[in-house]
């Protein structure tokens, strides 16, 4: 696979090394001359000096034959433009963009750039996962497919506690895929009983979270 990595910071450099170690062909584009002089002795001809938002720089790097473009510069506007140009001008289908400032995530969404990786967002999700009182945890978001996998703890007195999977009135677009009980994962059937204290994993279309929360938390809790 031929990969173009735009942005030679820590993320870009480590990605380049790992991809090369896996046998991929990589070009890393770095705009800052000082940073380039640090990268060049390690990567030699793999690294190009230039602004990856300039079309000729992308063309020099061979964007027409790139199987994947990864925009990981420190500037979100640059990552947006690189992704947009790679997809719409050069027809590249596999693009990964980095979002540095989580507030800019909505700009990536607006311009339909995906997938977008934000380390702040990833850490926030991990915190959600580690701190159960947050209730409903987003485990995975499949943006292109418009699906997400969530996890929710069943509280005592909730509409679902003590019922079987088949008896739960799930909204259309939601499906229980696993039940985690005492550290063990169960792939449920319609007859599997759900107890309070269980953690239930669901796959659903985004937007059903409130519905799901009501099903698995006790009524008084959901108003806290």
């Amino acid at each position: 696979m031929y990969v173009i990595v735009a942005g030679g910071g820590k993320v870009g450099l480590n990605l380049t090394r790992e991809l090369m170690a896996k046998g991929h062909e990589v070009t890393l584009i770095e705009n800052n001359r000082r940073r380039y002089t640090i990268l060049e002795p390690q990567l030699e001809h793999i690294v190009h000096l230039g602004d990856a938002t300039e079309l000729w720089v992308l063309e020099r790097a061979g964007i027409e034959r790139a199987d994947m473009v990864i925009a990981v510069t420190g500037d979100d506007e640059d990552n947006i433009i690189i992704s947009q140009v790679a997809r719409e001008k050069y027809g590249r289908e596999k693009i990964i963009a980095r979002c540095n400032n989580i507030r800019n995530m909505e700009h990536f969404d607006l311009l339909d750039i995906k997938p977008v990786i934000s380390s702040t967002d990833l850490i926030l999700r991990l915190i959600e996962h580690e701190v159960p009182q947050y209730g409903l945890v987003h485990l995975l978001k499949l943006q292109a497919e418009d699906l997400e996998i969530i996890e929710v703890e069943v509280s005592a007195g909730s509409p679902s506690a003590g019922k079987t999977v088949g008896e739960i009135d799930l909204p259309d677009g939601g499906l229980i895929i696993a039940i985690l009980r005492e550290g063990e994962g169960i792939v449920p059937s319609g007859d599997t009983l759900i107890n309070s204290g269980d953690e239930v994993m669901l796959i659903l279309n985004p937007g059903l979270e409130d519905n799901i929360t009501r099903l698995f938390t006790a009524p008084e809790e959901s108003f806290i």
Partner: protein
Amino acid sequence: MFVLIVGCGRAGSALAKNLLADGNTVSVLDESAESHRLLDVGLETNWEDEGGMFTVGTALEIDALVEAGIERADAFVAGTNGDNTNLVIAQIAQKKFNVPKVVVRVLDPRRATWYAEQGLHTICPTQAGIEMLTAAVRGETEVVLTEQI
């Protein structure tokens, strides 16, 4: 007409004063409070007393754009010194806030041309300069600037 200009450098500030003199409501957004002084230059009083508005804020932040009045803007000018910032905020103005007239300054001629083909009204001062210089050296008296659509 309510015009929001993002970027208060030499071009943005001069454009702001031109449009204010035409009788428009003009709001300027820049990340530097310092840039305000460019708006006062050449005015009898100062920018605010002449009826202008000025907001300090980052162009990419929706809150700043809203504070500067993007929701009621009839025209939006993306004129910061960063081509990519301009291209992103112009698309935000167009797609998120449905501003009827969006104009974006792009210094790189190739990006300006390509984004113009995608439906943005780009203005490329570099291209205009190239054409004027070429015409001047060739001795052409009348300089015709290429209309960027």
